[in-house]
């Protein structure tokens, strides 16, 4: 009997807390009359439901990937492996362990690079796992691929049918929601995922990277890093940007001067240098205190959190400036003057009259930042100051792929996989935020 123990990394805890807060907020909002109407408008929007479904799937992958554990070492009573695995690793175990020697193209049976065989002959070596079930009958590959694809489509369709039937009570409970686009998006997703899953049993669907790791596995693991950077960073930056922006705009005077001075100064330091300095300092701290972390994953996670924090500290200025300007406009609105004529306190003017009228800006820039941050992570990883080199992320994937683009023939699959996963993630987030913004704007209703 294999034992294991759960490991709660810092970022896991934050992500679960964030989900819990979002769930509580949603529950609260459903009991507020006007917010319920806004939510109903989101649910009634086809785009919103379709994008929301895709986002939910990404979030699910990130969540599954955030349940970490360590296996008990065989024969030991109280000793655990140093390797921290996640629930996603368990689900994808064959992908994780089936590593080849080096690059191989999607669905290939042979390696991408020639190798010297015994006898001094250069040839493409046979892959260890890719197409292994074909044996020596390489001519059967197209038929095998086709069979797997059909099987995958059938499986995807079946899974969708089951979900559709399982969704009956949901549809009965909220008949006005746009379920068709939601299930349509789900169908599309499952029809793509089915064949990929079926093919992944015998092949490397997206090929392998330099050290022979399956690219599909890397791409799936990258989702968590992207979601983490996108959400945790905004979480850190948002309170500062909103609070300082509104206070600067509404209170004015020396408070405004001080806040403006702060963000102007912060903005004039080259961002990459500031991040580099902070991340390197953090790295030094981590390296000099090896006793803080039981595992390499813990160390990598601390670096991820540090990166989120420093990205948050450097990226609040843009939103803050925007909100300050908008607040300067809003404070002259007559409804703010009317509130002042009643002697409403500054704090409640800011909370009741200014903040709600800024929420659409906050929401839009959140999503813009989300995609921007996922991209920033890629850039920073390239410079070597991003996530820990052991952390799988879109950034490290793209960075590794970048070097191989000049190769002839080109190694395109890592980049393509990272690109398409990021595109779907960011596009879904953008579309969803657009719908949310429209729905929460009473003037557009």
């Amino acid at each position: 009997m294999m034992g294991f123990k759960f490991v709660l990394l810092g970022s896991d805890a934050l992500l679960f807390a964030l989900i819990a807060v979002a769930a509580v907020a949603l529950h609260w909002a459903r009991r507020q009359d006007h917010l319920r109407h806004a939510l109903a408008r989101v649910a009634a929007s086809g785009t919103g439901m379709a994008a929301g479904t895709l986002l939910a799937v990404f979030l699910l992958v990130a969540l599954v990937d955030s349940v970490h554990y360590r296996l008990r070492l065989e024969g030991a009573q109280d000793a655990y492996s140093v390797e921290v695995l996640s629930a996603l690793d368990a689900a994808l175990m064959p992908l994780k362990t089936h590593t080849e020697k080096t690059y191989s193209a999607p669905l290939a049976t042979h390696s991408f690079a020639k190798e010297m065989r015994e006898g001094g002959e250069w040839a493409y070596p046979r892959l260890k796992y890719g197409g292994a079930r074909l044996g020596d009958d390489l001519a059967a590959r197209p038929a095998d691929v086709a069979r797997s694809t059909v099987l995958g489509l059938a499986l995807g369709g079946a899974a969708w049918t089951i979900l559709w039937l399982a969704g009956v009570p949901l549809r009965r409970r909220w008949p006005k929601a746009a379920w068709k686009p939601a299930f349509g998006a789900l169908l599309g997703l499952l029809l793509a995922a089915g064949p990929i899953a079926a093919l992944a049993q015998g092949y490397h669907v997206f090929g392998t990277d330099k050290v022979g790791q399956d690219v599909l596995y890397l791409a799936l693991k990258s989702i968590r890093t992207g979601v983490m950077i996108g959400t945790l960073t905004t979480l850190i930056m948002l309170p500062a940007a909103v609070l300082l922006g509104i206070v600067a705009g509404y209170v004015g005077g020396w408070v405004d001067d001080a806040i403006q001075y702060l963000y102007t100064t912060l903005n004039s330091i080259p961002g990459v240098l500031l991040i580099a300095a902070a991340v390197l300092m953090m790295q030094v701290v981590i390296d000099t205190h090896p006793d803080w972390f039981a595992t390499a994953a813990g160390r990598a996670d601390a670096r991820l959190l540090a990166l989120c924090a420093i990205l948050g500290v450097t990226s609040w200025t843009g939103l803050c400036r925007l909100l300050r300007g908008e607040t300067l406009k809003l404070r002259e609105m007559e409804y703010v003057q009317a509130a002042r004529a009643f002697g409403v306190s500054r704090l409640s003017v800011m909370l009741r009259h200014i903040l709600p009228n800024l929420m659409h800006i906050v929401l839009i820039s959140l999503v813009m930042d989300f995609s921007g941050l996922v991209l920033a992570e890629a850039v920073l990883s390239y410079v070597g100051i991003g996530v820990d080199p052991n952390t799988i992320s879109f950034g490290t994937m793209i960075n590794a792929a970048r070097l191989e683009l000049a190769r002839e023939p080109m190694v395109w699959w890592s980049l393509a996989a990272a690109f398409s996963f990021m595109l779907v993630l960011v596009l879904a987030a953008n579309l969803f935020a657009d719908v949310v913004r429209d729905a929460f704007d009473p003037r557009a209703a």
Partner: protein, 579 residues
């Protein structure tokens, strides 16, 4: 066919709606046709359809437009470009946004002339002189921000004249301007029409402007022309029921409210109120001067009565109102309310005693809050006990709405309904004084009449005192007991409505009254003041009005006149008031 423009069954559709629903009219050369209607009646859409400048969502669905016998709707777009500017030109309501702020006036006019810069400059100069701009050579090199509103509208007219149009379409050309400037611009349009034989299609909501300018009047509602008549007949005996309703809604035609209580002890007493906004310059932000927005204003208002504070934009009337409520910190003077002085320590009592209703019904209600919380806000902030929800329902009924509306958002209401909500919000804390800052100037005349009646009724029931800030003389005549006329931060004339409106002594008051377009079309003895009001940061020495005053003498240039009492409680600040 003597008609310059002939429109037949013109219809414009936006989706299912038809903002213009089959209208026909003719304009003869050199004539002015006024298209009269309230907002949303389709009058601007008609003008845009004539120019073929409709927004993308709108489509001409039928009818014909003939300019000098050419069917404009059938012309290809490149020929239409020649018609615009050459055949007909258009000027818009808001001169501030019609000019490109980063291009000099001269270049903008040259662009309209589409000539080369050298002789374009000469033509531009001619045009600027034609529209009565003083020192046109200097103005050519100036940017729009250096010009006043009236000046900008003149520039717009000059640009419209660049192509020598046969027809000038003027879409509410003076709505954004002050009344004395409006009079100047209307006179200019008449003069240009006479000298150039140009026809004008004047789009307006103002019966007075139509009476002053038009040869023919067309009344429009819901996309239809209800009545077309020559001016004389229209103003003597309007045929359509809606036209008669428009006349009846004019403040001067409303039945006067019942007699008011006689002046008693003052509820509001303002002594020498000043608000100076510092102008700071340089690195150390040292004060280099001050905008004297309010410069020594004294007012008294008794319970249950209405004092109108009248003046043109920028004269400081709104600032004075806000300074009384301490929404703007006054820099000097004393204000007392119900016998006790207003200062920061007793600010809570002020908030309960005096409240404000703002001008823009679209900006004065928070779009994110529902009506209930909006009205409740004052009661909560001032800690007034009781059943707030019930009180909100009561207030909504009091202003002519239904309690069920408390759950709705502001965007679901019309401008007039929003203004009622704003009044209900102010009444929620049971004040004794309401400061009404142009409460009806953003509303159509029929809605304005309803709001004025509501205000009069509330005053009778609740014994409210009103400080009514406005530029609309007609409204003053209807609602006010006393009038104070403000010019450049100071009150120049103060008295009962009868004394000020019927026996004005200050030349500025006289000019203001004369500039109001009257629906009987009688210009009367016209006293047109030239120029624009000076800047309150550099008021002229002596009497502030002397640069524009026809009676100014040396004494006016030297010293500011003290108050002269003409009759009991009728004060005038003028050296020549006795005459």
């Amino acid at each position: 066919m003597g008609d310059l423009l002939s429109v037949r069954d013109l219809a414009v559709g936006i989706g299912e709606a038809s903002p213009v629903d089959g209208i026909s009219f003719d304009i003869a050369a050199g004539e002015t046709f006024a298209l009269l209607g309230e907002s949303g009646c389709g009058k601007s859409m008609t003008a845009l359809a004539l120019m073929r400048l409709l927004p993308n969502v709108a489509r001409v669905q039928g009818g014909s437009v003939e300019l000098q016998g050419r069917d404009l709707l059938a012309l290809p777009e490149y020929e239409m470009r020649g018609v615009r500017g050459g055949g007909m030109a258009m000027i818009f309501q808001e001169p501030a946004t019609s000019l490109n702020p980063v291009v000099t006036v001269g270049r903008q006019i040259s662009e309209a002339l589409s000539l080369h810069a050298e002789n374009g400059g000469e033509r531009a100069l001619e045009l600027l002189s034609a529209v009565g701009i003083p020192d046109p050579r200097r103005r050519l090199d100036e940017y729009p921000f250096q010009l006043s509103g009236g000046m900008k509208q003149r520039i717009m007219i000059a640009m419209a004249l660049a192509g020598d149009p046969k027809l000038l379409i003027a879409d509410e050309p003076t709505t954004a301007l002050d009344v004395t400037i409006q009079a100047q611009v209307l006179d200019l349009l008449k003069e240009l029409q006479r000298s150039r034989g140009m026809a004008i299609l004047l789009i307006t909501h103002d019966l007075g402007v139509a009476a002053r300018m038009a040869d023919h009047v067309g009344v429009m509602r819901s996309g239809r022309l209800l009545e077309v008549a020559p001016r004389g007949r229209f103003f003597a005996a309007p045929a359509h029921e809606y036209s008669r309703a428009l006349f009846a809604a004019l403040p001067e035609n409303l039945p006067k409210p019942a007699a008011k209580p006689a002046p008693a002890a003052a509820l509001l007493d303002v002594q020498d109120l000043t608000v100076h906004f510092p102008i700071r310059r340089g690195l150390l932000q040292r004060q280099a001067g001050a905008v004297r927005a309010v410069d020594g204003v004294s007012l008294r208002l008794a319970p249950g009565r209405t004092l109108a504070l009248v003046g043109e934009s920028g004269c400081g009337k709104t600032t004075a109102g806000k300074a009384i409520l301490r929404l703007i910190q006054p820099t000097g003077g004393r204000v007392s309310l119900a016998g006790s002085p207003v200062d920061d320590a007793r600010i809570e009592r002020v908030r309960r005693t005096a409240q404000m209703v703002f001008q823009d019904p679209y900006g004065s209600l928070n779009p994110r809050l529902r009506i209930g919380p909006i009205i409740e806000e004052g009661m909560r902030a001032l800690g007034i006990a009781g059943d707030h929800a019930a009180r909100v329902g009561e207030l909504l009924e009091q202003v002519g709405l239904t309690p069920a509306m408390a759950g709705r958002y502001p965007h679901e209401f019309s401008g007039g309904q929003r203004q009622r909500i704003a009044i209900a919000r102010a009444l929620a804390v049971a004040p004794k004084l309401l400061i009404l800052d142009e409460p009806t100037s953003a509303l159509d005349v029929s809605v304005q009449a309803q709001i004025l009646k509501l205000l009069a009724e509330l005053q009778r029931h609740l014994g409210l005192a009103y400080l009514f800030i406005t530029h609309n003389i007609g409204v003053v005549d209807y609602i006010a007991d006393e009038v104070a006329v403000m010019y450049l931060g100071r009150i120049v004339e103060h008295g009962t409505t009868e004394q000020v409106l019927r026996g004005a002594r200050h030349p500025y008051t006289q000019a203001l009254l004369a500039a109001v377009p009257r629906i009987d079309g009688k210009a009367g003895e016209r006293l047109l003041v030239p120029g624009d009001p000076p800047s309150p940061s550099h008021p002229p020495a002596g009497c502030h009005f002397h640069p524009r005053c026809p009676r100014a003498t040396d004494v006016c240039r030297g010293e500011y006149p003290a108050a002269t009492e003409i009759e009991t409680r009728h004060f005038v600040h003028c050296w020549h008031a006795e005459r």
